[in-house]
Structures are given as structure tokens and as C-alpha cells.
């Protein structure tokens, strides 16, 4: 079962656990994620999906177990530029337009080659709303504005917390399209979701949370 050193998994969790006030939030987890793989995080409300994703993003510190990145212990500095985290809070400034918000994200994270913010906004279906303040967008449009980062930001691992919430059919299809393209291009993604995913690029790995 052990992979050869050359094909070390992108991300590997070994009995990973997180405690709040000295109580474990979820049972210790073991999983591996290779490049080109998608994993779904499943679990009921309050089972710890968000907590796990924040842990993997580096916002929280594991209380027990180990996290490895490309075979070496996880370290913020080596993998910060390879991870993209999108949580319940979208990290958009409501006073700025989607375009301005993207501009800032690009300044911080850099930009993929061959795509412009305008093209990304068109692709997520916000053409025409580029210069509207985010405050004036509907719930789903806000989400789409945040999703545009997926297109622009160079990252290998996507950590998406309930990306489907608030989106309409087209929006859900959009996410699936983005995920398929990302995985086909050698990326990996961890996605938490309650809904039907309808992902066509192969059967994703499933990580079950028990709160």
C-alpha cells in the first residue's frame, strides 16, 4: 500500500486530530490525497468539516497526529503558495467591486498565465457586474465573485468549504467544470458539501467525519 518515494502523496494526514478546550472536534483522521485526485468531505452539520479544512489550510494547528506535504512534514512557508482556501466567509470586501477584489488577490497570490480578471469574471457569470460593489450583489453572485479566484490563482490544492451553497444550477455546473479541469490538469481538491455533487471526472475519494 505504501507509495514509492517518487510518488509521495500531495497531502497525507496521519491520525490527525484537533481539540477545542481539550475535547476532540472529530475522531482522528487518516487519508492521502495525490495530485489529480478529488476528495469529498462528508458529514453532518457540526461534524467538523470546516474545522478540518481550516486545519489543512494552516489556519489552525493540529492537536495530535501529523500532516505531511509531498512527503515532508507540513510547513506553512513551503506550501502557502500551493494552497487555495475558500471558506464560509468569502474574504471579499463589500465596498470594492469584484474586479478590485480580484486585483488584490492577484497582487497577493500572483496570477495564472493566459487568463485575465475580466475573463475569469465572465466565466463565473458576472459579466456586467465587474464594477458593481460586492455589497449590491445577490448571495449567489457574491459566491461567484469569490469563485473567480479559483480561475486566477495558481494553486495545486484547492480547499473548498461548501462551494455549492447559494449557487443555482448553472453555478453548480460551473464548479464541477472547474473541479474537473483542475483535477485533469494535475491539481487536487478537497471539497466539503452536503448536496449532490454530480462530478463527472471519476469517482472521488470520500472522507467521512464523525463529530
Amino acid at each position: 500500500m505504501t507509495a514509492p518515494a517518487a510518488a509521495a502523496p500531495l497531502l497525507e494526514a496521519r491520525r490527525l486530530g484537533f481539540h477545542r478546550q481539550d475535547e476532540p472536534v472529530f475522531a482522528p483522521l487518516d487519508f492521502r490525497l495525490h495530485a489529480g485526485e478529488l476528495a469529498l468531505i462528508e458529514g453532518d452539520n457540526g461534524s467538523g468539516k470546516t474545522t478540518l479544512l481550516r486545519l489543512l489550510a494552516g489556519l489552525l494547528h493540529a492537536s495530535e497526529g501529523e500532516l505531511r506535504w509531498r512527503g515532508a512534514p507540513w510547513q506553512r512557508d513551503t506550501c502557502a503558495h500551493e494552497i487555495l482556501f475558500l471558506g464560509h466567509q468569502l474574504g471579499q470586501k463589500h465596498e470594492l467591486s469584484p474586479r478590485e477584489n480580484l486585483g488584490f488577490a492577484i497582487g497577493l497570490h500572483g496570477c495564472r498565465d493566459g487568463i485575465t480578471p475580466q475573463a475569469a469574471l465572465d466565466e463565473v457569470g458576472l459579466g456586467g457586474y465587474e464594477d458593481e460593489p460586492v455589497r449590491r450583489l445577490s448571495a449567489g453572485q457574491k459566491k461567484r465573485a469569490a469563485l473567480a479566484r479559483l480561475l486566477l490563482q495558481p494553486a495545486v490544492l484547492w480547499l473548498l468549504d461548501e462551494p455549492y451553497a447559494n449557487l443555482d444550477r448553472h453555478g453548480i455546473a460551473l464548479i464541477n467544470r472547474l473541479l474537473e479541469r483542475h483535477v485533469a490538469g494535475g491539481g487536487a481538491a478537497l471539497v466539503s458539501s452536503h448536496g449532490v455533487v454530480g462530478f463527472h471526472g471519476g469517482e472521488p475519494q470520500r472522507i467521512r467525519m464523525h463529530g
Binding site: 489556519l59 503558495h81 466567509q89 474574504g91 470586501k93 497570490h109
Partner: protein
């Protein structure tokens, strides 16, 4: 692949300045607050010119510093609420540098307008012109010092329920020496004495703070967000 450092700094600065401009109503609040104080005082004390002149330097100084403190509390609040602070922490850029830029933007948007109107306020209270350079220099040194030190404390309280009181409690000991030195300079100038020494102390403290505060701020933020 990831963005060059100077681009990241520019993006940070640009974003915060744009935001401040979009919320310029809020940005003007400290200035208006200072104006209100200076307008209300003559009413509250009665029109005794000599008295006003006597307290002018100290009043303007304390008012400007307090106005800054008011704005300090909100330095990271909105960024925490909408999750953009998380994104900043996760970005592949040196956090200390990014926070330094944020502090700079905060200083530009809150302290600079105050410094610009300070001579006006001092004039309204009939501060002698001789003390004006000392007042301005003291403000120019004291305000960034407060911004920097305040940012560290604000970062530390970032993970709590934004306890304003805690912040005030921790800030008070920092303010006292700053006010002592700054007011010392102004008072000396008002009495025609040399006022170089206190200003030099402020400058030295500022230099130290510029180097260390962003680093401390980054460390504090990482601790405060980890829950």
C-alpha cells in the same frame, strides 16, 4: 509563480486606501471628532482667552492621539469579519510586511488628516506660533508610534470578542510615555525652552517600533487566529 513582493505591497496599500476612500465618511470621523472637541471646549470653559491659550498645546495633542486610538480598534475588525484577514494570513507573502503596509495605510488615512488639521485646531485655541513646529513634529513622531504599537495590541485581541476595554487597558500604559514626551516638547517650545531631547526620544522609539512592531503584529495575529 507567486506574486513579487513589491506587487503584493502595492496591492495591499492600494486596496486599503481605496477602501478608506469608499468609506470616506468613516475616515473623516476622527477629524470631526477632534474638531468637535476643540469647538466644544471654549463653550464648556467659557471664553477665557488666556486659559485656552495655556491649555491649547496639551489639548490638541491629547485630542489627536485619542482620535487615533478610536480608529485603532477597527484596524482589523472588518477584515476579520469578512474573512479577508484569513486570506492574508494564508498568502505566500511575508505577513509582517503585509501588516506593515496595512499599518501604513491606516496611518495615512487616520493620522495624516489629523496632522493636517492640527495647526488649524491649535490656531483656534490661540496656540502661540512659536510652539507650532514642536507640535507638528511631536505629532509626526507620536502618531506612527501609536499606530505601530496599537496594531500589535489590536492583533492580540483579534481572536477575542473584540474587547475594546482590554485594548484600552493595554494601550493606556503605552500612551502615557508618548504623551509625556510629546507634551513635554510642546510645553518647552511654548515657554521658549529647547525641545530637542523629548523629540529625540520619540524618534528613537519610532525607529525601534518600525522594525519590530510589524513582526510582533504578525506573530500576535497568528496566535490570535488559531482557534
Amino acid at each position: 509563480m507567486s506574486a513579487p513582493l513589491e506587487h503584493a505591497c502595492a496591492a495591499m496599500l492600494r486596496r486599503d486606501l481605496t477602501l478608506a476612500w469608499r468609506r470616506r465618511g468613516d475616515m473623516a470621523l476622527p477629524v470631526l471628532y477632534a474638531v468637535i472637541v476643540v469647538v466644544l471646549f471654549p463653550f464648556a470653559l467659557g471664553p477665557d482667552l488666556a486659559l485656552l491659550q495655556r491649555i491649547a498645546g496639551g489639548l490638541v495633542l491629547v485630542t489627536v492621539l485619542l482620535a487615533m486610538l478610536l480608529a485603532l480598534d477597527g484596524m482589523f475588525a472588518s477584515d476579520i469579519e469578512d474573512g479577508s484577514l484569513e486570506q492574508l494570513v494564508l498568502a505566500p507573502q511575508p505577513l509582517a510586511l503585509m501588516l506593515g503596509m496595512k499599518i501604513l495605510a491606516h496611518w495615512i488615512t487616520t493620522a495624516l488628516p489629523l496632522i493636517v488639521i492640527a495647526p488649524l485646531l491649535a490656531g483656534m485655541l490661540h496656540l502661540p506660533a512659536a510652539a507650532m513646529p514642536a507640535l507638528l513634529l511631536a505629532l509626526l513622531l507620536a502618531t506612527p508610534l501609536l499606530s505601530l504599537l496599537g496594531a500589535v495590541l489590536v492583533a492580540l485581541t483579534a481572536g477575542t470578542r473584540r474587547s475594546g476595554m482590554l485594548l484600552a487597558l493595554m494601550l493606556l500604559p503605552l500612551c502615557v510615555p508618548v504623551v509625556i514626551f510629546a507634551a513635554g516638547a510642546v510645553a518647552a517650545a511654548q515657554e521658549g525652552l529647547p525641545w530637542f531631547a523629548p523629540v529625540a526620544w520619540l524618534a528613537a522609539a519610532l525607529i525601534l517600533a518600525v522594525v519590530l512592531a510589524p513582526l510582533a503584529c504578525a506573530a500576535a495575529l497568528r496566535i490570535a487566529l488559531d482557534s
